[in-house]
Symmetry: C2
Subunit: 275 residues, 2 copies
């Protein structure tokens, strides 16, 4: 499928994708770039990549580059990558959790760019958590623009399908609106919930508290970036959520059992659709 | 340990406790009571209990009664139970998620009463989900009063330890304050979060949304009862949480990356203590 696939950012997502590309033989060679030398050593030792480097010159002659760095780094590193690859040949994608700004910038830098967002992360991170089947049965959202090259879109679609993901296509704007609700809002809530917990009560936390706050163990810098990038949509989602919270709070305050039960039972029906 | 242990309410908690009492031979015989005949049939067929009935007369001559019904039923059924057992002989406990009102009432009805709350539930319910090791490594909170009989407290403590729980003791009032934060508040939030989700976005929900809303699949009637019983503490916990949420919301609105990162990183540190 590709001659030389390059993954920039060998973390949970980048490392897992590299593993699966090698396992499924989707490229003749897979190279990796990381800021940290120890990530490269680990990735080489565990067969995640065929060769690796802390510098970008290793990307030369790649026909696929996947940018899997934190969101805040994508734009800056792309300008550097464009100097090394042949932009008229190489297909480029990213795996960022926000898309509008990234897609706008990167499609100006790379003529063969398609934005991707595999919904397969977790509160874990780093190449040590990478696994080949991370994308199995996950959803990957692609966000092409009107002028996105059809061949690039076709190949990036095929790539994600081959590694096990279901592919769906939306605009970058729609993606950011959806993700604000289904991912960024839950993170805002999980971080706020654990923050409100008195320290001396933590020892009493059981399954309910653990589940609802699990994603608050996610890396803070990474999420501060996302909250900044997708600010408007996230503030809108927080407002919609606060409305529901205040409604339930009022029902509890009034002790109106019928309205409470009705609220909870509608919520349960919706949750039951999730899996 | 006991001659005849009786479980009133053969659901997830009651059924699991019955299974474990039988497995560990903590009573010569284990009887069960359920409103639903099919629960009794299931429990008998799967060896959860030795004998069962929809009526309370089967409780006669029990030396242990565990009331494992929904919170709203506990008080009413206790008056009925007191007419059948010998209250001067039989040790009684409940497994309700709220304690202040229940302990006050039941300790007046039963001289040998100790309030229990095993923190081992989940969004699942019913005897079909019961399993012997449900309490392994879980926490069980006992809420004795000043006049609680020492021998009853000793035996109920031993019972929970034998089925694998770690036992901790607090006042009923303190219990309800703690649980409002570590369990009832996460439920309020999970129900509100899923309620704020646009239906057409549900298909994009991945691990983060599933984890944070899992407990919103809990039975609504049961939780409406708890929200009513522990109203004051829950409203206080919602207020403390809303303060944190509004703080983070304001940081995002102001685009203050330093304050956002600081908030998230403190939250992550707290979450990392949870397991």
């Amino acid at each position: 499928m590709f001659k030389k696939a390059a993954i920039v950012g060998i973390g949970l997502i980048g490392g897992s994708l590299a593993l699966e590309i090698k396992k499924k033989k989707l490229a003749k060679t897979v190279v990796g770039v990381s800021r940290r030398k120890q990530n490269i050593s680990y990735a080489l030792k565990h067969g995640v990549i065929d060769s690796g480097s802390c510098g970008l010159s290793i990307l030369k002659n790649s026909d696929l580059v996947v940018i899997a760095t934190p969101v805040s780094v994508i734009s800056g590193i792309s300008a550097e990558i464009a100097k090394i690859i042949d932009p008229s040949e190489c297909i480029v994608t990213d795996v960022g959790s926000t898309k509008s700004r990234i897609v706008e910038k990167l499609s100006r830098i790379f003529p063969r760019f398609v934005g991707s967002h595999p919904l397969a992360g977790s509160e874990q991170r780093g190449v040590i958590n990478a696994k080949a089947d991370l994308f199995a049965n996950s959803l990957c959202i692609l966000t092409p623009q009107i002028n996105t090259e059809k061949e690039a879109l076709r190949k990036i679609t095929a790539l994600w399908k081959k590694v096990g993901a279901k592919v769906t296509i939306t605009s970058a704007k729609k993606h950011d609106n959806i993700l604000a609700y289904v991912s960024h809002l839950p993170h805002v809530i999980a971080y706020s919930l654990i923050s409100s917990m008195p320290d001396e009560f933590l020892a009493f936390g059981a399954g309910g508290l653990k589940d609802t706050t699990r994603i608050a163990a996610s890396e803070s810098g990474l999420w501060a970036d996302i909250f900044e990038e997708n600010k408007t949509n996230i503030l809108q989602a927080i407002a919609a959520y606060s409305l529901q919270l205040r409604k339930l709070q009022q029902f509890i305050k009034n002790g109106d059992k019928r309205l409470i039960t009705n609220f909870l039972s509608k919520a349960k029906n919706k949750r039951d659709k999730l899996e």
